[in-house]
Symmetry: none
Subunit: 207 residues, 2 copies
DNA sequence: AACACATCTCAGGATTCGCCTGAGTGGCAT
DNA sequence: ATGCCACTCAGGCGAATCCTGAGATGTGTT
């Protein structure tokens, strides 16, 4: 699943070239993906987590709750260790970046299919490192203190969305978005709304 | 040029399917692209620009300085009118989003190849609208429409100051700052406060 | 099983903020 | 002198924000 048709086309081609692999379905949105997965019952799901509207992370969690044994490989466009860790924690079996070569993509796919977990060496090293030092790092950055939902809202704020749009996108109450905003402001020690937006925009700018 | 090999692969396939189109080279980085373009002398360049990094924008300008007549179609992952306008101003002949379908990609490519400028209907409408308002011919940018005071306010907003701080800094009434803000919003056609801050922060970021 | 804890969700009320209308002053050009 | 523009500010109304509190769910602990 990916909301970039051309990228998806390229990925399908790469996967199809391998004899024992076959693409049984594609999806552009979270709902399409969910429907397709329940209907087609695939052996593996390739998923981009940076998608418009619904959070890919949320879909990841729902999917994992529905089919815990279904391996999912996350294909992300950002090199965020933060995302990788959260994705794996949400039940993903692998995390790879869009920048990677087709060969590396196939390697990741095969590894996940065989039951192993895939992560780039750098990602793996950092995650293992953070596990060995549970509390000291306290998350390399203040952003680590934020929950998945809070991080998602911060990202949407950074993209220029106001509270109403965010509520609509996430299908939750305006009041809920409000609460998340407050928590983000509190955790990040931002005094005003302006500072919050300022921080969010700058953070999103250097994803 | 794109730093996502799989996306590039998909794009190459789509372009290759059209009889009279041929891909003569690919590049992953700016330097590769520059070398390839001077060596292969293509009729058209398809380029992804990761705007936040700003390097794509600079490359666009350099490229245009080197070969002003070479048409460039920007493929961006951002649905940002601000980016589209900047890209076209930097010499690009078209601006399309990664979310678009292969058909739309081909339509854009053909349009640019035939010498026309491509932009999505929404993007085109906004840009044309801004051009249809005569105003001072001296202003190459929408920012030119702003008065000195308004520009100053916008800069302070971009630095993360809220209305109260700005009023204090400038030793004027909160209401006056309020009025300036309204005028800025009006001239820049920004719908909400969030968009205003969003615009301001990014403008300040690449002063 | 019982418990504490975190997360996500939402509401009500107090307050502030943003937005719109209107308006006064001073500079500058025709 | 007149018109235009930039800058300044106030009042009022609706909207957004901030704070407090709280229910539901899931997770991990004892």
């Amino acid at each position: 699943m990916d909301d970039h048709p051309v990228f998806r086309s390229g990925l399908v081609r790469i996967v199809s070239q391998v004899p024992n692999l076959e693409v049984c379905g594609e999806a552009e949105t979270a709902v399409q993906a969910f429907g397709g997965i329940t209907r087609l019952n695939p052996d593996l799901v390739l998923m981009d987590i940076s998608m418009p509207g619904k959070s890919g992370m949320e879909l990841m969690q729902d999917l994992h709750a529905l089919k815990p044994e279904l391996p999912v490989l996350i294909i992300s466009m950002h090199d965020e260790l933060l995302y990788a860790e959260r994705a794996l924690r949400a039940g993903a079996r692998g995390y790879i970046m869009k920048q990677e070569s087709p060969d590396e993509m196939l390697a990741a796919i095969n590894k996940v299919l065989s039951g192993q977990v895939y992560a780039s060496p750098r990602t793996a090293a950092t995650i293992l490192d953070s596990l060995s030092r549970p509390r000291s790092a306290a998350s390399t950055s203040v952003l680590g203190k934020l929950t998945d939902r809070e991080l998602e809202i911060l990202r949407l704020i950074g993209r220029g969305k106001d509270t109403h749009q965010i509520a609509a996108d996430l299908h939750i109450s305006l009041k809920t978005v409000d609460t998340h905003r407050s928590h983000v402001r509190e955790k990040l020690e931002l005094k005003s709304t302006t500072e919050l937006i300022h921080y969010a925009v700058r953070w999103v700018a250097d994803e």
